[in-house]
Subunit: 309 residues, 2 copies
């Protein structure tokens, strides 16, 4: 039988890596002996922590797949986030929780739900197919849901995610709150990164109407630790603003322990943040109480505020 | 709560109509009291037969939906086959068995499988959610699978479809073979249609490489009955060839009882059919043994044959 390559998106995170492993295990249980878990890039520090903690091998690193290869996509469906030669592959299945961005010339198995994490969908697939969720599989699923939902505190969290975490924590025999916090903290280690790398790690160009913007987000267990680098960060941000001709650059420093974000803002339209959140920037930064999701708690309100300019 | 409109594709067939009814029933069982089964066009004769047989009311006929309406798509996902203002609606769910042709700006529930019929997927959803498949629901599901798979004889039929038909026939307490044949025969009644309408009913423009083509398909229980109209059909076909500047027009007259097709062919490239199927056209027609699926048994072989010209 031909190999089936299973992989998540480029710049893999914990959901993408664990989902490829968990989906490969499901495929094997369903009789597809040649399913292989793969990845399209290096592991981040959080995912490294997870695989080390449970002593699990990382998926195989691949650059592309041969023409006519059989593939299964997890945690993404957009060709722009997938292998470069996806158009020459035969997509057998997709399991995902993102918006739709894929066209095909043939019918396929497609399973997506608007939940916080792909593993929440995979957990359902295991149950529906009567496939055993072992302690190891439960540990991987649990880690991904904690990662994607910031310990169930992100507004992307659904009831299905909460329910899954409770059931999986029992199977995995893990105190998910203390484990999850350590895992998230491991992901916040910035010590290996230069200022330029930090400002590029998770930067998204998101214009608010006519206001040209970049919103970057870093997770941390200690906002003051990150603000110690404020001077260097501002130098780096100012350079990006000049190079890209931006109106505003927002660096969300998200406290994963207390579920708040300190926002560091530069640019001619920095005061938009003060209007949007009814806060006062002091020394270019302010606390945004309860804000952890760029997608749900920053983009909509900033876009609305900019539209009233 | 806002209404949720549930509908299948334009030019509705039995799968599309029954799937909107069956999905609306599932949604209600899951707590969405405001789910409404709808349809985007008139009923064909086969579907009329089904609804009359089981004394079930047709879904509500709609032209479009209001802006920001909540909708659920069944048996299609392509905006070109859906309500005209789909881009202004919020798609909550899709249940389907076709190729992917939809992009969204938000995540949603998407469930598709490469099986013969949407109802085969819906049957699984009922089971997974522990919702009772009543005699009436089973009758609708069964009718659609028989329709889409031509009584499990089409090459689009999968093991899942066969399994579903067996289970559903028991719940519905129906001898599915005799009922199915009567249902399919009801759909072959051409008495209300003019020659022009027959030649337009299910015509698809499908070019084989550089060979400009239309392939039309009509189902029948008696090929000789259709061939009685040969002279009038040929006049109509020749007119279409002239108007559309076609190289070939194929009319597949599919015998749903014996699972064969007689093909009536006109056009300068008519001999391509003789090469492709190793047959001799006599009086412009020939029997294609075992051919019932335009998608799987005509388009690929004709395209390959044309490529060798």
């Amino acid at each position: 039988m031909a190999k089936t390559y299973i992989f998540g998106h480029k710049s893999p995170d914990t959901d993408t890596i664990t989902s490829s492993l968990v989906m490969a295990n499901l495929e094997k249980a369903l009789g597809n002996a040649d399913a292989v878990a793969c990845r399209l890039g290096g592991l981040n520090k959080e995912t490294e922590y997870v695989l080390n903690y449970f002593d699990i091998e990382a998926p195989e690193l691949i650059d592309d797949v041969e023409d006519d290869a059989q593939v299964i996509l997890v945690d993404h469906n957009s060709p722009s986030e997938s292998v470069d030669n996806l158009e020459n592959a035969k997509i057998l299945k997709v399991v995902d929780h993102h918006k739709l961005a894929l066209e095909t010339s043939y019918p396929l198995f497609y399973r997506a739900e608007p939940v916080g994490c792909t593993e929440t969908v995979l957990f359902k697939l295991y149950k529906e197919n009567g496939v055993e969720v072992t302690k190891e599989i439960a540990s991987l699923m649990l880690s991904a849901i904690i990662s994607d939902t910031l310990l169930l505190k992100s507004p992307t969290t659904t009831e299905d995610d909460v329910e899954a975490v409770k059931e999986l924590a029992e199977i995995a025999e893990i105190d998910y709150e203390s484990y999850g916090l350590e895992m998230l903290k491991a992901g916040t280690d910035l010590s290996d990164f230069s200022i330029e790398e930090i400002l590029d790690l998770d930067a998204k160009q998101i214009d608010f109407g006519d206001v040209k913007s970049i919103v970057n987000q870093v997770n941390t267990a200690s906002i003051p630790d990150v603000l110690e680098m404020q001077e260097d960060l501002e130098d780096g941000i100012q350079k990006i603003i000049d190079d890209e001709d931006l109106d505003i650059f927002m660096l969300l420093i998200t406290d994963i322990v207390n579920s708040n974000s300190e926002v560091l803002v530069l640019g001619s339209q920095a005061s938009l943040v003060e209007v949007a959140y009814d806060v006062t920037l002091e020394d270019n930064h302010a606390l945004l109480e309860g804000v952890v999701s760029r997608k749900k708690q920053v983009v909509p309100i900033m876009t609305e505020t900019a539209s009233k300019l």
